[in-house]
Symmetry: C2
Subunit: 307 residues, 2 copies
Amino acid sequence: MTRSDLLLPSWREGSTRDALLNFLEASASLAPADRVATFDNDGTLWCERPAYLQFLFFVDALQRAADTDPSLRDRPEFAAVLSNDQAAIGELGLARVGMALNGLFAGLTPEAFSTAAREFVDRAVHPVLGLPARRTVYQPMLELIEALRGHGFAVFVVSGGGTEFVRAVSHDLYGVPPEGVVGTLVQHEMVRRADGGPELRRTNLLDGDANEGAAKVTRIQSHLGRRPVFAAGNSGGDREMLEWATAGEGPSMALVIDHDDDHREFAYQGRAESFVENESITEVAARLGWTVASMANDWTTVFPSAD
Amino acid sequence: MTRSDLLLPSWREGSTRDALLNFLEASASLAPADRVATFDNDGTLWCERPAYLQFLFFVDALQRAADTDPSLRDRPEFAAVLSNDQAAIGELGLARVGMALNGLFAGLTPEAFSTAAREFVDRAVHPVLGLPARRTVYQPMLELIEALRGHGFAVFVVSGGGTEFVRAVSHDLYGVPPEGVVGTLVQHEMVRRADGGPELRRTNLLDGDANEGAAKVTRIQSHLGRRPVFAAGNSGGDREMLEWATAGEGPSMALVIDHDDDHREFAYQGRAESFVENESITEVAARLGWTVASMANDWTTVFPSAD
């Protein structure tokens, strides 16, 4: 039994697993400070279908708020969400609906927001899979994070989702502390309490662009200040980050998760959102020579077991 | 010999050292994730007089650039800097002069900027003390960082200086990796090379406010997502961060470095820049019950020895 046999046990033997093991071996030639890995979250580390977990958290908060204050149901964005009227949501625009939902949390301290997010993730059950939300993480990706750390990598989560939402669970789920999460940012403001002491309050303003596409690359620079040599993603919003990870000298790797498993999860394609139109992320991967992990073929297990 | 005798050897016995040891002991009651310490850099971890080291780096870059392109000497901001004309610099405004100098680095990749910064710090000698720049860090503060880490603390640098400049040396000097440095941010843009691959280029635009005052608190939230329970600083720009560290429940500590040692370093006061005018940071400390470290009285050694 070689050392490799102990790594990545939920990855089926074959070219994808071999590519990962080869990269891990090759990474020994990198300086320790250059061993940096970045992972997208939704659809890369955990399930994003039929809806982002953060969206379900926001809808749950809206339902609770509307129970207390029924007038909220009259607001067009909230009416569309509560009736799950996709046409109305599309007409209003997802950005507007998202900011309306985000506004439900305006004024909270970071601690109160984190507590609410954690409490939701603890009780949420996946609407289709029937699994607790915490078990909709991908077991093979947890093993990949562990293998990278075992080879001296610093592991970061670079998500299109809300930074504070992902931070609330990233340590529990992935062993990534809050400062290792780079996502879409909501601004906080410092206010003074009656006793003069400072407090942070969540606003309803974004700080910069949504963390997708080139914003992932510039925010990796501003927040982490290190360039990844390994990056994993599953959609067009991850494309620039994967290009960035593989554009330097020395060993590097870009991994695309292909959601092709309608039996154990969902089958869908991530669209590339820039540079070349109408090219899916797996088509980009094929053109640029990236590694594609087929969920159906490369993973013996998708979700962690109950214990 | 008790355990405390081994800690903080360059701190003279007395109330300041006792306060630090008491806090370290009390921190055992904190959850591991809550053991977070933030340090200002200039004047707190290393010497900031007679000029910030980053400013000397910028001036050095200007002198080299002007040797190659003498027309740079005609630009008012550069003329003022090259002739060290403080009145002219004051008239132009430090922000304008700073951005003009920053512009010398526009277009560089992050790697090229870091290399230049490291190369400068390696060869710079303090203009008054005659020490190599790398030895103008404060030995007692290095010991404090070590003691905090020994008690399970995550240690971050929260500087008014440029994030990328501090990152270039923070691991070598303090053991803090790039993602642990929060400072004033210069925007980077992602551009495409001729071969289509992505590259990051430094711009001459700031990303948000200079990292002073309340900006330190909001950026601790956006970049680190954790609240410090220990913070150290030496000027008005650190005040909100120190208030923030001590405004929660449980053990916390704010430490102010008092530059009162004209013999071994420099004697000067940091002004508080907001909330109450014309109050020095040591006056704020006295009013709020913070711990003040007198460089003259509390430190047996200021700078590390040559080996």
